[in-house]
């Protein structure tokens, strides 16, 4: 597959090369310099630090302290020059160049609501070759985004979240994905990039999920770009698109921002200091946000205390070429804390730190050599402290066994005062506190170098990008531990800091090419190849290599034609992206099965000398584990029709080898000595007994403390059971398809009103066939012994092994923007026109996996006529099963089950326990939810140039309608439901000083 792809890319590059040569002959070159001054349109003061970019050879400049800029070596008679400065409206200016020096002065307009062009909706990045949306500061302010996890709700068809409180836990971003029940780890595969620095959760233990953005202050964000389509090969370690967050950089006034919602309050201070001539600018941002999840319990809160420092400066090398330096240091101190909550019992609490420190240095150097245009070097590091601390009160009337044994064998409980290192500590009686800590400190670093080489031949331009990146992640945390081991419950140490770092070396090569086709049209291509080599030192996984080719193309039929269809272009792409596994996948912890082997009667003082047999497992490294990857396809069209801008894109993403966990059962035997055995075999008076258990054999011996009676050996019975452990493996492919639509109607000028219609269609199918083992609901066999059988099911040990869903969402946004009074009002009606879901129980080839039952109590059914929409219960059988005595023998389940019904009643009864059934008769019915909608409004008003206010209300008319589910035939109220946002409101004030 990879070889074929590489060959295809080579062919494309060859064609591009030939075209380059051909075109290169067509145009004469000039030697021009463009210089000028950038000023503020209102104050006429010079603007330093303006980024001036061109569409020629990757040339760029930054204006100096007096607003002057110079770009030399321009070699084409026309250029589009773009001027950008934080807080000002971006301006692109076409310039005609003559031989020698050319001058172009530009006045930039300060960004505010008095400008005509303000938007408060996510905008498609038209210059991008793939589906990409930008949400700018105005839009973030207008939507009052306080929790960046919800930024994607502003995308086409997105549904607003009412309450954005930070205390209700993390809800990581997942692009082009549905709910958390979907297979394929979409949020884990969605990459988050903050100013070029990758934020990731690879070294987190626990859930496999994406980055929690709660610790990133929303006040310091300049814009967010959401790349839902195929990203550049510069970006790896992803499988579901990426979100690029850009913070404020550059000179700004002092801004005080206050945001209030019922459950969240925030204050932020920001300023971009101009440090003087050649000294650059320093952006300082500090934010304090306090959020609660329950209005009745306001003392339990999540706090965010962000401080961000960003230094940026531009220098010139000895050749006069610009070199920009950006260095940032940011962090957060905060987290969840219930210590002050009077509702909690005295001294009990939960505290979860969300501390973060990240540093990032980026050097961007225009070399303008014949063999290289720009060189970019970037290094970053991030360190988090996610320490969770709980203090809980405990009590007991009898000694409880706290098992800390790590070796296989029989262990007997001992009092802590007698042996603090005992494998089983007998806990206290009475009242006490247990303070536990879960110490997780993920550390990630990255060093990246990339060089680009841009050449232009007439209107034909080619940029080659070559880069390398070394990135790694590890965890310096200690894992779970307890303050006082005398009261530490059953626990085994699993230190995160003992796990090897996962390092990844990536090399990437990309060519971006654009050329005119005819008089009006142009073709744009981007093709690249990324190679990732993941190294895990000291691990059985060793080194894993992956190749990710990606290609994007865009054909512009025409632009700015001036009438009717004034712009028309199509774009498409294909690409592969690979997501590295998380530490949860790589390093499953050792699991322990502890079986009660002996429990003599509790004495009058509450003591019981419990003995347990411990069976540890060896961590299950899966040598066949493959890295999860997604093949993305997209196709789109953009047009401007009579002033109405239309963007429609379709995608088809198929995720292969998604990470999943499954259980592995290993049989073992232990000896059980019961009270009956004591009574049968022990004549030593209770008060004189001293119990001993042989660590290896499990034989219990009773000693007479007085020495009068000889040792007495107790009887036992043997028990055959299993120890289960998690193994991470790869699931079956998951497919997602969809359409994203944005229609921005031309503004109705007389009433200054714009109408946007955006929507999406989303289709998902996840069907897992990877075998999973389960012992069903059984704990004992018919003969009273521990359950003997393990079933192996296709995909899942539940009735469904997958699901199919689709939805159509449409939002109508009416925005009225009146520059004269500096106000913008928007009304957004969010509708879900079509919501469909269907549980599936089948194989990839369409064969059914489930059997339709006549009655709930049946165990045998039929597949005739299907299982869907039948209003009947469905049974699913394992593919095969194994018995305790011979785990290697795979016995086909159904054949044996049918046979046992007539021939072996006990076996039949036991096998019945491996049959899983649907919970309801409607479980496999299609579920169509009738259409529903809700409406939100937001209004932003600038009070002069110094202040602005935003007010919003979600679901402001308190939608009380009902929806009907075709699956159950029941109606349910939208009020307080998960379908629409709850009624919610908020206000923010921004003051510029």
């Amino acid at each position: 597959m990879n070889r074929r792809v590489s060959a295809s890319i080579s062919k494309v590059l060859l064609v591009v090369g030939i075209m380059l040569i051909a075109c290169g002959e067509c145009f004469a070159q000039i030697h021009a310099t463009l210089a000028g001054r950038v000023t503020d349109s209102r104050t006429k003061e010079p603007l330093p630090g303006v980024m001036v970019t061109t569409d020629q050879k990757g040339l760029w400049a930054i204006s100096d302290e007096d607003g002057y800029y110079t770009i030399a070596n321009l070699d084409f008679p026309t250029a589009v020059v773009t001027f950008y400065l934080l807080g000002y409206q971006k301006q692109s200016v076409p310039v005609k160049l003559g031989e020698g020096k050319n001058t172009r002065n530009v006045a930039l307009h300060e960004m505010n609501l008095s400008l005509d062009e303000v938007v408060v909706t996510a905008q498609r990045r038209t210059e991008s070759l793939s589906s990409s949306y930008v949400i700018d500061r105005n839009t973030l302010d207008h939507a009052q985004i306080m929790n960046l996890n919800y930024v994607t709700t502003l995308l086409p068809g997105g549904k607003t979240v009412g309450d954005q409180n930070l205390a209700s836990g993390a809800k990581p971003v997942a692009l082009h994905a549905g709910g958390a029940s979907e297979l394929g780890n979409a949020s884990f595969g969605t990459a988050i990039d903050l100013d070029g620095q990758r934020l990731e959760t690879n070294a987190s233990l626990g859930e496999i999920r994406g980055v929690d953005l709660r610790n990133i202050g929303s006040s310091n964000i300049e814009s967010v770009e959401v790349v839902a389509g195929i990203p550049s090969v510069e970006y790896g370690d992803l499988s579901n698109g990426m979100v690029k967050i850009n913070t404020r950089k550059g000179r700004t006034p002092f801004v005080v921002e206050l945001m209030v919602e019922p459950k969240t309050k925030s204050i932020a201070l920001s300023k971009g200091f101009y440090l003087g001539r050649r000294a650059g600018t320093l952006n300082v941002n500090a934010e304090h946000t306090r959020s609660i999840s329950n209005l009745a319990s306001p003392h339990t809160a999540y706090m965010r205390n962000n401080v961000n420092l960003t230094y940026s400066n531009a220098f010139k090398d000895h050749m006069g070429h610009p070199l920009s330096l950006t260095a940032s240091l940011g962090g957060n101190i905060g987290g969840y804390n219930s210590e002050a909550d009077p509702d909690e019992f005295k001294d009990t609490y939960t505290k979860t730190r969300d501390y973060m420190l990240r540093g990032n240095v980026k050097l961007h150097w225009l070399l303008d050599k014949p063999w290289i245009s720009n060189l970019t070097l970037q290094a970053s590091v991030s360190y988090s402290d996610k320490m969770n601390e709980t203090n809980s009160n405990k009590s007991s009337a009898s000694t409880q066994p706290y098992i800390h044994a790590t070796e296989a064998g029989y262990h007997i409980g001992e009092l802590y005062v007698e042996n603090p290192d005992a494998d089983i500590i007998l806990g206290p009686t009475g009242y006490w506190y247990v303070r536990s800590f879960t110490d997780s400190k993920p550390l990630a670093y990255s060093v990246k170098a990339k060089a680009d080489w841009t050449r232009r031949w007439g209107k034909t331009m080619n940029t080659v990008l070559l880069g390398a990146e070394l990135a790694g992640s590890g965890n310096l945390g200690r894992g779970l531990y307890y303050e006082d081991m005398s009261v530490a419950p059953t626990w085994r140490e699993f230190r995160y800091d003992g796990l090897p770092f996962m390092n990844n070396v990536a090399l990437f090569l990309e060519d971006k090419f654009s050329m005119p086709v005819g008089r009006r049209s142009s073709l744009h291509l981007r093709a690249g190849l990324r190679s990732d080599i993941t190294m895990i030192k000291g691990s059985e996984y060793g080194t894993v290599a992956n190749v990710s080719p990606r290609i994007n193309a865009k054909y512009v039929f025409w632009e700015n034609r001036g009438k009717g269809v004034s712009d028309l272009s199509v774009f498409g792409g294909w690409g592969k992206s690979v997501k590295q596994p998380s530490f949860t996948v790589l390093y499953p912890a050792t699991t322990y099965s502890d079986k009660l082997a002996f429990a003599p009667g509790t004495t009058a003082d509450g003591r019981t000398f419990y003995a347990y047999y411990t069976q540890p497992t060896t961590p299950k490294y899966n040598p066949d584990l493959k890295w999860q990857y997604t093949i993305q396809n997209e196709l789109g069209v953009e047009a401007k029709l009579w002033g109405t801008r239309v963007s429609l894109s379709a995608f088809r993403n198929k995720t292969f080898n998604p990470y999943m966990s499954r259980s592995v059962y290993t049989p073992y035997t232990y000896k059980l000595t019961t009270q009956a055995d004591i009574e049968a075999g022990c004549t030593i008076p209770t008060e004189n007994r001293h119990y001993m258990i042989d660590r290896h054999t499990g034989i219990v011996t009773v000693q007479d403390r007085t020495g009068v009676i000889a040792d007495q050996v107790l009887g036992y019975k043997e028990r055959n059971t299993y120890v289960s452990q998690a193994e991470y493996t790869n699931g079956s492919p998951v497919e997602r398809r969809g359409l994203d639509l944005i229609v921005d109607f031309a503004q109705i000028r007389p009433i200054r009103t714009s109408i946007r219609l955006d929507g999406n269609y989303y289709w998902y199918k996840g069907l897992n066939e990877t075998l999973v083992a389960s012992m069903g609901q059984a704990s004992s066999s018919m003969d009273g012994t521990p359950y003997k059988y393990v079933g192996y099911y296709a995909g899942s040990s539940t009735a469904a092994n997958g699901s199919l869903s689709s939805q159509i969402n449409a939002n109508l946004t009416i925005s009225t923007h009146i520059p004269k009074i500096r106000m913008i009002f928007s009304l957004r009606i969010e509708s879900s026109l079509y919501t469909y879901g269907q549980n599936l129980s089948e194989y990839a080839d369409g064969r059914l996996r489930g059997y339709l039952l006549e009655a709930a109590g049946d165990h045998h059914g039929t597949q005739q006529g299907g299982i869907y929409n039948k209003d009947s219960y469905v049974a699913v059988y394992p593919e095969y099963y194994t018995a305790w005595g011979n785990p290697e023998e795979k016995i086909p389940f159904l054949d044996k089950f049918v046979w046992a019904r007539e021939n072996d009643r006990e076996l039949y009864q036991d096998l019945c326990k491996l049959v899983v059934k649907s919970n309801t008769t409607y479980f496999f019915n299609e579920n169509r939810i009738t259409a529903y909608y809700a409406a939100n409004f937001n209004v932003t008003k600038e009070l002069g140039k110094w202040a602005s206010v935003t007010l919003y209300a979600r679901n402001f008319f308190y939608q009380m309608g009902k929806v009907k589910s075709s699956q159950t035939g029941l109606e349910s109220s939208l009020f307080d439901s998960g379908y629409i946002p709850k009624f919610y409101y908020g206000m923010s004030v921004r003051i510029k000083l």
Binding site: F345, A397, T429, G430, A599, T602, G606, A676, A856
Partner: protein
Amino acid sequence: MKKFLSMMAAVAMLFAFTACTEEDDDYRTYSVAVQLLTPDVADAPLEGVTVTARGVSGVALAAQTDEAGVATFALPEDIYNFSASHKFNADGVVYVVNYVLQKSIASADFVNANTMSLEMEPVVSQGSKQVILKELYVGGCPKDDGSGFYQYDKYVVIYNNSDQVATIPNFCISHVGPYNAHGNNQNYVDGKLFYAEEDYTPAYSFVFYMTKDLVLEPYTSATIALCGAIDHTGTYSQSVDLSEADYVCYDPEDFDNPNYHPAPSEKIDAENYMPASKLGLGNAAAWSVLCPGIFIFSTGDNEPLAYTQDKANSYYMGNNEKPTNACAKIPNQWIFDAVDIWTEENESESLPRYSASIEGGHVCMTNKLGYSIYRNVDKEATEALPENEGKLVYNYGLGTTTINGGISTDLSGIDAEASIANGAHIIYMDTNNSMNDFHQRKVASLKR
């Protein structure tokens, strides 16, 4: 039509103030006549039957039926649970007839009449069983450090309510689902308990059984520790000492949570451990701490484990075959006694979990305070026993005040435990209606 309705409303308002019995301005009562309907079996006497009316706000009144089987009350506005039970013999069989009715009494009902007439349908079951539940202590008690309440000290007391020795093979104890009477009850279909007409009751999630015959002498009891057969009082002074329980539900192979199921006291013989037939999931056999529906039964000649594990006898609540809904069908004729405990706070949202012939009513419990549910004494029968002469202790004072201000107590006035300690033989009420048969006791009988 609208005009007509408006007029009717006006007239209704007028009569609302005239139909009531004006005893005083702040406490109006309304006349309610309750007619007990005659059961189909034989000619059951209906005269002299005590009918109780218990309002959810705490009012509790009793009235005797007249010759026609009518009991008349003067009741203030409230929602009432009316109940009545009586026994009679016919053709050598002892029958128990239960009447239960819930009805709201509001002034608007007395617009056109001065008296409201109600009819109560009879539910007939055959005579009382030899072994009954005497006491259930399941609600826990306060912890000494004030951090909440303790609940791993649950027990029940079973009692031989007859003058014959009880020898019962395969004695079992279990409970009905859902855990709480006010929880989502998947056993109701179209507003009806769908096994109400069936001849079984589902034992939910687990069944504990004895491995030897239960032998109870006449008028004696046995304590079964549902969990924690140890002395809890060392740590929890308001709890009980279960270290000398007669039996204990203990099966560490199925339920190995040592907090809920610590190793029983060494004073309890292993032969008195009751192993479990585990139907559901979990490492603890959890009995509801709020409002369980506990019942006792015998599987007769059937081995309890085999019978309850047999798929042919399985049942899932709501036909939803997930482990948390697993039950075993227990034939009703195997059941000795059953109690449906509700909470007062949720009484209006609670639904009966037994068919009416098994348990015709319910009893309310307030948990976390160390209260128990204790059986009422059959005063007439107990006093009739000649050997009780001079041994009965009266002026029972361990009833409780309900959260709505009502009284839950044994109206017989006999202090059963004190009388037993005095050598008396107690015959407890057994009408298959917990409203009549039980009250809430301020102090569990095992609390010393």
